[in-house]
C-alpha cells in the first residue's frame, strides 16, 4: 500500500485538532505514508537494540528540595492570554452540556 486510508489521515488530523480540506487529505495520505516508511527503516538497522533509550546521558536525575521558589505575578502570567474572565483564563467550552 502506498498511501494511508482517508480515515487514518482524518484521525491524525483530529488528534492534532486541525481541519483538513479534501485535497489536503489526499496529499497527506501519500506524504504521511512516506514518513512512516522512513521511520520504519530504523528496524532495518543491524543489531537494532530494542531496549529503551530515554536519554543519551547515563547519570540519574537529581532531585529538587521541596521548597517554594519565585512565581509569576498574576499580571505577568496572564499577559499572553487571549481572553480572561475574572481571574480565570477563558477558552471555548471543553465539554458538551
Amino acid at each position: 500500500m502506498d498511501k494511508l486510508s482517508k480515515e487514518e489521515v482524518e484521525h491524525v488530523a483530529h488528534l492534532a485538532r486541525i481541519n483538513l480540506e479534501e485535497e489536503d487529505i489526499e496529499r497527506y495520505r501519500i506524504q504521511l505514508k512516506k514518513l512512516i516508511d522512513d521511520i520504519d527503516k530504523i528496524k532495518d538497522i543491524k543489531n537494532y537494540d530494542e531496549e529503551m533509550l530515554i536519554t543519551p546521558v547515563t547519570f540519574h536525575s537529581d532531585l529538587r528540595k521541596d521548597e517554594i521558589g519565585s512565581m509569576l505575578d498574576y499580571k505577568e502570567a496572564m499577559k499572553n492570554v487571549p481572553a480572561s474572565n475574572g481571574n480565570f483564563v477563558e477558552v471555548p467550552v471543553m465539554i458538551n452540556e
Binding site: L15, A16, R17, M52, I54, T55, V57, F59, H60, S61, D62, L63, R64, K65, D66, E67, I68, G69, S70, M71, L72, D73, Y74, A77, M78, N85, G86, N87, F88, V89, E90, V91, P92, V93, M94, I95, N96, E97
Partner: protein, 471 residues
C-alpha cells in the same frame, strides 16, 4: 434481570502533600486566587525544563509501600500527548512504562468477610489545570497545573457499589495516615473515576467510565445508576459503546462527555528531559521506616488496651486525637480513661471554643496527671468537668488547679472521722453487712463519698471501711 454481574475498576488521583509542584518550584497551594501560583514551567513556556520534587517521590513511594506494591527501582517518566486546554504543554508528564509501584493490593472487609482488591499500578504524574464550565465557556485556573499526583489503578475486582465504597474508604484511610495526601474529595485532592460494566457471561461487558464523582457515597450512587442504565439498554437490545460519562450530583445520574483520546492515541513516549531515577534499597528502607503508624496498627493497639470498638472507630476518624493518644502508648497510662477524656470532655471543649488541641494549655504532663488522678480515684469525672476549663486554659500544674478548686486529698484523720460518723448513723446497714449482706457496703460507701465530696480516694475509703467493719 438479576443474572447480570457488575464489574468495577477504580482509578483514584490523589494530590501529594508537598509545598511545591511536581516539576517546578511554584507553590502547591489550594484555595489561592486563581492563576497566582504559577511559573513558566507550569504554563508550558518553550525552553523550560522540569525538575523533580524529592518530597513527591518520597510520598509516592510511601503510597506504593502501604499498597503492598512491588517497586520499580529504576523508573522514568513518559509524555502522554493530547491537545486540550487543561494542559498548555499539550502533553502530561506521567509514568506509563515504569510506574513507581505495581501488583499491590488493598484489603477490604464487608460483613466480616475480607476481600483483596488488587492494585494494577500506582504512578506519579502532574495534575492538569482546573477547569470550570459555565455559559458555553470554560474557565481555567493554572494554580493546579503541575501539582504532584499519584494515580492508583485497581484491577476490575469489585462487584458492587458497596465494595467500591469500602475500597475507597480504605484507600483514603491508608493515604491519610501515611501523610501522603489530605484526601479531601470535596476540594478535589482525591478524585475517583469508576469503570463500570455489566455482563451475563464470564466475559466482561462494555466498559463505561464515570468521572467527576465528588464523594465516596456518590460513587455508590453513580455505580448503581450506571448498572441500571446499562442493563436497561441491553435489555432493549442495544449495543453499548465504550464511553466516558460524568456524574451529575444534581440529578444523581451520569451524562455523556465529549470523548477524549484513549490508548494509543496518547502516543506515550519517554520524557527525554528527565533522566532515569534510581530508588536504592537503602532509600526505600529509609522511606518505609518513616511511614507514620497505619490506622490498622493503631486499631490493634487501641483494642488491645481495652478501648471499646465504638471509641476506636471514633479515634481513627480523628487523626489529631489518634496522634495525641499515641504519645502515651507504652507509658503505663490507662488508655481507656485517656481516650474517654479525649473523645468526651476535651473534644467538647475544643468544639465549643473552636481552638485546636495544640493551642490549648493542655501539656502532656497535665494530661498524664489527670488520667492518673482519675485512674487512682483521686478525682472523679465530675471534678474533672469542674476543672476542665482551667486545665485547658491555665499554665498551672494539675495539683495547683485542684487546690484552687478546693479539691485536696483528705487527711487520714478527717476520713476516719467521716467513716465513723457514717457507721454510727447507719447501724442497720452495718448489721446487715455483718449478717452477710454484701450490698450493704455499697450503700455505706455511697454515704461516705457524699460526705467527703469526692475529696477522698475511693480505693482508700473501701480499704478503711472494710477494716472498720471487721473490728
Amino acid at each position: 434481570m438479576n443474572q447480570y454481574k457488575t464489574t468495577i475498576g477504580i482509578e483514584v488521583h490523589a494530590e501529594l502533600k508537598t509545598k511545591s509542584k511536581m516539576f517546578s518550584d511554584s507553590a502547591n497551594n489550594y484555595g489561592k486566587m486563581a492563576n497566582t501560583c504559577t511559573n513558566v514551567i507550569d504554563l508550558g513556556y518553550p525552553g523550560t525544563l522540569p525538575t523533580i520534587n524529592e518530597k513527591a517521590i518520597e510520598l509516592a513511594l510511601r503510597a506504593a509501600l502501604v499498597l503492598h506494591c512491588k517497586i520499580n527501582k529504576v523508573m522514568h517518566f513518559d509524555r502522554k500527548n493530547y491537545f486540550y486546554p487543561d494542559n498548555p504543554k499539550n502533553y502530561q508528564i506521567t509514568q506509563n512504562r515504569t510506574p513507581i509501584g505495581i501488583d499491590g493490593y488493598v484489603e477490604i472487609t464487608i460483613n466480616n468477610v475480607p476481600k483483596k482488591i488488587r492494585i494494577h499500578d500506582i504512578h506519579i504524574e502532574e495534575d492538569t489545570c482546573k477547569s470550570i464550565h459555565s455559559n458555553n465557556k470554560s474557565l481555567l485556573d493554572f494554580n493546579r497545573a503541575g501539582v504532584p499526583l499519584v494515580e492508583i489503578v485497581t484491577e476490575a475486582d469489585m462487584n458492587s457499589a458497596e465494595e467500591a465504597m469500602a475500597y475507597l474508604e480504605k484507600l483514603r484511610e491508608l493515604l491519610l495516615y501515611a501523610d501522603v495526601s489530605d484526601c479531601k474529595i470535596e476540594e478535589g485532592s482525591m478524585r475517583c473515576d469508576c469503570n463500570v460494566s455489566v455482563s451475563k457471561t464470564e466475559t466482561y461487558g462494555t466498559k463505561i467510565e464515570v468521572k467527576n464523582i465528588g464523594s465516596i457515597s456518590n460513587v455508590g450512587v453513580a455505580i448503581d445508576y450506571e448498572k441500571a442504565r446499562q442493563i436497561s439498554l441491553l435489555e432493549k437490545g442495544q449495543v453499548l459503546k465504550e464511553e466516558t460519562r460524568r456524574f451529575d450530583d444534581k440529578t444523581n445520574s451520569t451524562i455523556l462527555m465529549r470523548v477524549k483520546e484513549t490508548g494509543n492515541d496518547y502516543r506515550y513516549f519517554p520524557e527525554p528531559d528527565i533522566p532515569f531515577i534510581e530508588l536504592t534499597d537503602e532509600y526505600i528502607e529509609e522511606v518505609a521506616k518513616n511511614i507514620p503508624m497505619t490506622a490498622e496498627k493503631r486499631r490493634e493497639i487501641y483494642l488491645n488496651n481495652g478501648i471499646s470498638e465504638v471509641n476506636v472507630k471514633k479515634i481513627i476518624q480523628n487523626r489529631t486525637i489518634s496522634d495525641y493518644l499515641n504519645k502515651f502508648i507504652n507509658q503505663n497510662l490507662n488508655l481507656v480513661i485517656a481516650s474517654n477524656l479525649l473523645l468526651g470532655d476535651i473534644t467538647a471543649y475544643i468544639n465549643k471554643y473552636e481552638i485546636p488541641l495544640e493551642k490549648t494549655a493542655l501539656t502532656d504532663e497535665k494530661f498524664i496527671d489527670i488520667v492518673t488522678c482519675l485512674d487512682t480515684g483521686k478525682i472523679n469525672s465530675k471534678i474533672f468537668k469542674e476543672i476542665l476549663e482551667d486545665v485547658m486554659e491555665q499554665d498551672l500544674p494539675v495539683e495547683k488547679i485542684l487546690e484552687n478548686h478546693g479539691v485536696r486529698e483528705m487527711s487520714e484523720e478527717e476520713l476516719s472521722e467521716i467513716i465513723n460518723k457514717v457507721l454510727e448513723n447507719n447501724e442497720q446497714s452495718v448489721s446487715d453487712y455483718k449478717k452477710g449482706n454484701e450490698r450493704a457496703i455499697k450503700y455505706l460507701m455511697g454515704q461516705i463519698m457524699k460526705e467527703t465530696k469526692g475529696n477522698a480516694n475511693p480505693n482508700t475509703i473501701v480499704e478503711k471501711l472494710e477494716s472498720k467493719l471487721k473490728e
